[in-house]
Structure formats: structure tokens, C-alpha cells
Subunit: 350 residues, 2 copies
Amino acid sequence: MELTERKKKILRAIVDNYIQTAEPVGSKVLSAMPGMDCSSATIRNEMADLTQMGLLEQPHTSAGRVPSPAGYRLYVDELMQDYRLSVDETMSLNQAMELKMQEVDKVISQVSKMVSKMTNLPAMAMTAAANAPTVKRFDLILAGEGSFIVVIMTNSDVVKNRLVKLPVSCTEQDLKLLAAVLNASCTELPPEGFTPELLERVSRSAGAAGALVPIVLDYATHVLSQQSRSEVYVSGQMKLLGQPEYRDIDKAQEVLSSLDSETFSNLPATLADTAKTQILVGPENIAKELKDTSVVMTRFDIGDGMQGLIGVVGPTRMDYAQVTARLSYFAENLGRMFAKPELPPSQGDE
Amino acid sequence: MELTERKKKILRAIVDNYIQTAEPVGSKVLSAMPGMDCSSATIRNEMADLTQMGLLEQPHTSAGRVPSPAGYRLYVDELMQDYRLSVDETMSLNQAMELKMQEVDKVISQVSKMVSKMTNLPAMAMTAAANAPTVKRFDLILAGEGSFIVVIMTNSDVVKNRLVKLPVSCTEQDLKLLAAVLNASCTELPPEGFTPELLERVSRSAGAAGALVPIVLDYATHVLSQQSRSEVYVSGQMKLLGQPEYRDIDKAQEVLSSLDSETFSNLPATLADTAKTQILVGPENIAKELKDTSVVMTRFDIGDGMQGLIGVVGPTRMDYAQVTARLSYFAENLGRMFAKPELPPSQGDE
DNA sequence: ATTAGCACTCAGGATCAGCGAGTGCTAAAA
DNA sequence: TTTTAGCACTCGCTGATCCTGAGTGCTAAT
């Protein structure tokens, strides 16, 4: 069977309408739509064809039609009209973004909250390092009271620190020597590079502060692993409850229970995919519990080989066009924001 | 009317039973309970009295009785039997605690997750500084490439850092001088102490690096405000959906919508209250949306004049005894954990 | 003071009829 | 050949009705 222009038009109309109303749509309302120049009977015939082709489904005999997953797929790939952000929308998006970003330190978690707020759906935000992080620089500061501060700067200019009690007494000179040794031999190494042999070698050449080497390198390993591990934040789970398809608590619970960070942490593999924006419809989804939901995600660049991903989860019947538009816009501005080196949202530990 | 021993016994039995079953409890089941030595008719009379005293309620004429808020109040204040943690429970609590604490950096957020998990209810965790934080020590590290790292240590030994681009070129000597000046005149000051005059005075005496003073002090203000502001984390909101009283989505949504950090940020006022554990029943609650829920919270000490608060939110019909016991145990161990200086869960930026 | 007995109440479940939106098919019209 | 009007049919939803049973309050006997 062939997919004529008219069939496409009807399919699009059905999806659009269903997205709005969440009710099966029948032939009568379709024929009444502007731009539909044929009778309900004709449309019924076409709908029968579309159903046979697997693009539509019928909840029961005497109900209208609903898009099938395949129908949605076709819709998002070919039929969907671009959604243009209104001036109001861009303005409120911008405003939300500006305000929050300055004030708050946990960028990624904030981002996920904002995405959720602006799409009114559960949202996810994560980052992933493209290349293995290394230490660029060690600093050790004597902090009085028998303790010192380890300051570690990674190759992506993230700075982390930790306060450590001194197991042995130590002068500022000792620390300076140790820092020099560490900077000479332990920088630019992948986490696996911190071998016991290296550790021992460094300890020996570090003189009085040699005892501190394990502590410092332990912390370095910790920081590096923390950097390479991608952080995932999920926000606004409860937003799902607003959707009519989740009036049923059990359905809602099933989905909500798998809406945690872990579900998304398997995702990085697909992060580098070709398209900037990716839409997973129903059964194509990342977890079987999400088979009746869709996920829309968009990539953005952070710089230093880091990438970020923001996305939302919603019922298969969601406004893909709108969500995609908002997500893209947001991602774009995020990228721009991170690119500005003079106002880094979080350049350090906060 | 007088509250006889037998009336108390009956009330306790009703609350206990209702907590278990979530169903109104009738005279028949009560009279069948071990320890009840009177007939259902007698109990009916007593229940009528209790209802008149405002301790019980009747959903409808032909149903059993349900505790009223006042009934719960009396129950938690006088009637509740202490719940003893079983060996299994303490073990799994300990285990959960040990494991997670080492691995994870965001302590408070982790704590809230753990509390939620162990009570199977939405949980909240927060900290509050008892006294205003001050800076104890400044360090400035030249980091090559025209940038430097500000390291700030507060009076509670929390260390924070930020990487800043140098607006002017600067030698290590300049930074050292600046640090010395800052340490001499800007430590032990409350956030309000950073006046424009001070800023100018310091700038002048800092020589070549004077231009950096605003940047550093700005960051210091930021850190201090961040420290004094109490962080609130809420986890496991969806756990509410498991409770039978929230089978109705609309009810659930109403409560869930007010289960965010903001609701609890007004709380610190009551944090210093006398009792370690506090129970807010129904209408006594902190927000009107929570009038049909109860909150159980427990304080714990962090040291350095800091306090923490963990709590859970649940239906008024929750197992107060069990929740209280688990919460107290957890709080106690948290306090112990924070008290150990040699293994601080987070002593630094993480 | 307690208890057995009894009439009464009322939420919840099951059953059933009627409505109406929507369909598929057929036959006529374009 | 395609479109359309007409019509019989399907079936989920709504509301009405009835029934059941758990639970009560009251009264009279113990």
C-alpha cells in the first residue's frame, strides 16, 4: 500500500490532534478541519488503510484512532511541523536561564530543574567527559593546626581541594618539595597511571613529606574518577502525574520508579551520535519500563572535550515539536554560556 | 469526660491497627484482640465517648473509627510503644551508612536519599549553621596561563576554591603579598564586614595585585553566604504513591507539589527546639498543603556549631514508633560520624 | 457496669439499560 | 475509479437500581 500525500496529511492531523486532546480522534472531527476537503467517509477509508499499514491503532471497535509507535516515528521523522518559539517564550527562557545560573552552583542539577520547568515534564541533565581526565597541577598548602590542603587542578581546569590532617609534622618547605615532585612525575597521567611503583618512587624522592604521597594520590584518583564519571540529574518526576495517561497510579509508579539517575547513566554511549537532537519513541526506549513513554534529548558542548545532554521524558503523546524546539534553544544557549570563559558558571568546586 | 485507662488502651489499639491496615477499625475486631476483656458492645460505648472527646472520627455512619489528629497527637505523646530496632535492621542501617558515605561526596543529599530508602517515605535532610561563618584563611595560587586559584578556608574548616583569570599580569610575589594582607585584615569577619572602605584599604596596601581584591572578596562573600544558607534536600517523593491514602492522583499531586526544598527552608527556626525528635501531626504541619500528612524530624550535631536535621513526610497514618526509632538511630550515628575528625565524610569541597 | 440483641445506616459492588460516538460496508453519485 | 451519503452495527460510558454486609446506636436484660 502506498503512502499518498493525503494519507500523510491525515496522519499528521491525527497526531497533532491526539497530542492536544489525548482522546482518540474520529473521522468526523477530521473532516471538519480546515484544509480537509473530503468527507468523513473518505477519511474513514484512509484511516482503515493507515491502520492496516501499522501507523494507527484502535483502542476498541467503536473508538477513533490513535497513533501507533510507528506512526509517531513517521511523524517525528517527516511530518512534524517546526515549532517556532514565540517572543514571549524566548524571553522567559532567557530570563529563567540568566537568573538561575548566576546564583546557583550545582549547574547540572539546576539545568535539569530548569528543563523540567520549561517543558512541564520530567527532565534529565548529564555531562560526560570525552577524554580521560588527568591532573594538570598539584598544590599543597600548609594550613596550620597540623593539617594541609591538597589542591588539584585537572586538565579541564576544574579545581578541587581537600583538607587533610597531617599524620607527621611537616614544614612548608617539605610540602613545597613534595608538590614539585608530584608536578614533575604525576601530572598528565590517566587514573590507571598511579601504580604502586610510581607511588613508591615518588615517596622516596619527596623527602620528609613522603608519607603524604599515598594520601594525595588517593585523593587525585578520587577526583579523576569523579570527573570522568558522568553526573546525571533527574528532576520533576512528579510532573508526569499531570499527564492524563498517568491518572492510573500503578502505571505512574512503574514509570516513575525507573526515572532515576541510574537509568540514564547507560546513555553516554549514544551521546556522541550524529544528530544533535534525538527522539526515542515508545518501545525504542532505553529501558523497558519506559516502553510507553518517549524521550527527547539534545546534546550541547561544554568545551574541553566535555559534552552535556539534556532531555525530557513524557508520554508518547507529547508535543514533540514544542519540546524539541525548547530543548534545542536551551541547549544552544547553554553551549554559548559555557563557551564564555570570563563568566564560567562553575569553575572550581562549587 | 474522663480518659480512663481502658479508653487509652482502646485508642492505642485503634491507632496501632489503623496504622497497619489503613482501614477504619470496628468494635468487633477490637474485642477479638488479645488483652481486650470486654465485649464489642462495651467497646462501642467507649468508642462513642472517644469520638465525642474528639480523639476519633467516623468516615461515615456505618464504618469503623479512625484516629483524629488529636488522637494521633495523644498517641505519639503518651500512648506509643517504643519501637525496638531488630538486629537485622540495625545491621542493614549500618551497612547502608558505611558504604555510601565513603563513596559519595554530596553528603546531605545522600543522607536524604538514605533516610527515604530506609523509611520508605519521602525524606528531607538539611543543615543549618548556628553561628555566622567567617573566613579563617586565604590562599592564592598562581596557576600559569594568566590565571590563579583562590582558596578559602572557613572557620568551620570547610575549604572552597575557584579558578579566576587574571585581569592583569601578576607575579607569585604579588599574590603572596596580597594573601598576607587579606589574612591580616579580612579574616574572622562576618559577611557584612566586607565594606567598600575595607575593600579600598586592602586594595591600596596590596600593591601590584590590588586589582584582584574585589574578585577575591566577592568570592569570599559568595562562599560565606553559601555556608550560612542551609541546604535542603528532599528525596523519594514518589514513595508517597505507594501509600493507600494517595491512590487518588489529585491528592498525591497536591502534597507532592509542596514537597520541595523551599517548603522546608522555613524550618530552621524550629530546629533549635528542645526535643531532639519532633513530630508534627496533620494540621500542625509546616505548610497547609501538608495538613493531611505528618512530619517526623530529628536533629543531629555536626560540630563547629552546625546542626543537621533529617525527617520524613508521610500520611498521618504512619508508623510513628518505627519511623522515630529509625530516624533517631540514624541521627545518632550521623552525629558520631561527623564527630570523628580523622575520617570526615566531606572535609573540603566535595 | 456490662452484654446480648436488634433495627438501622450506608458505602461499595454487581447488574443492566440506554446513549452516542464511531466504524465498516454498500450502493449511488461524480 | 474515486468520492460520498446512508445505514446497520459495535461497544465503552453513564446513571439508575438493587443487594450485601460491616458497623453502629439504643434498649433491655444480666
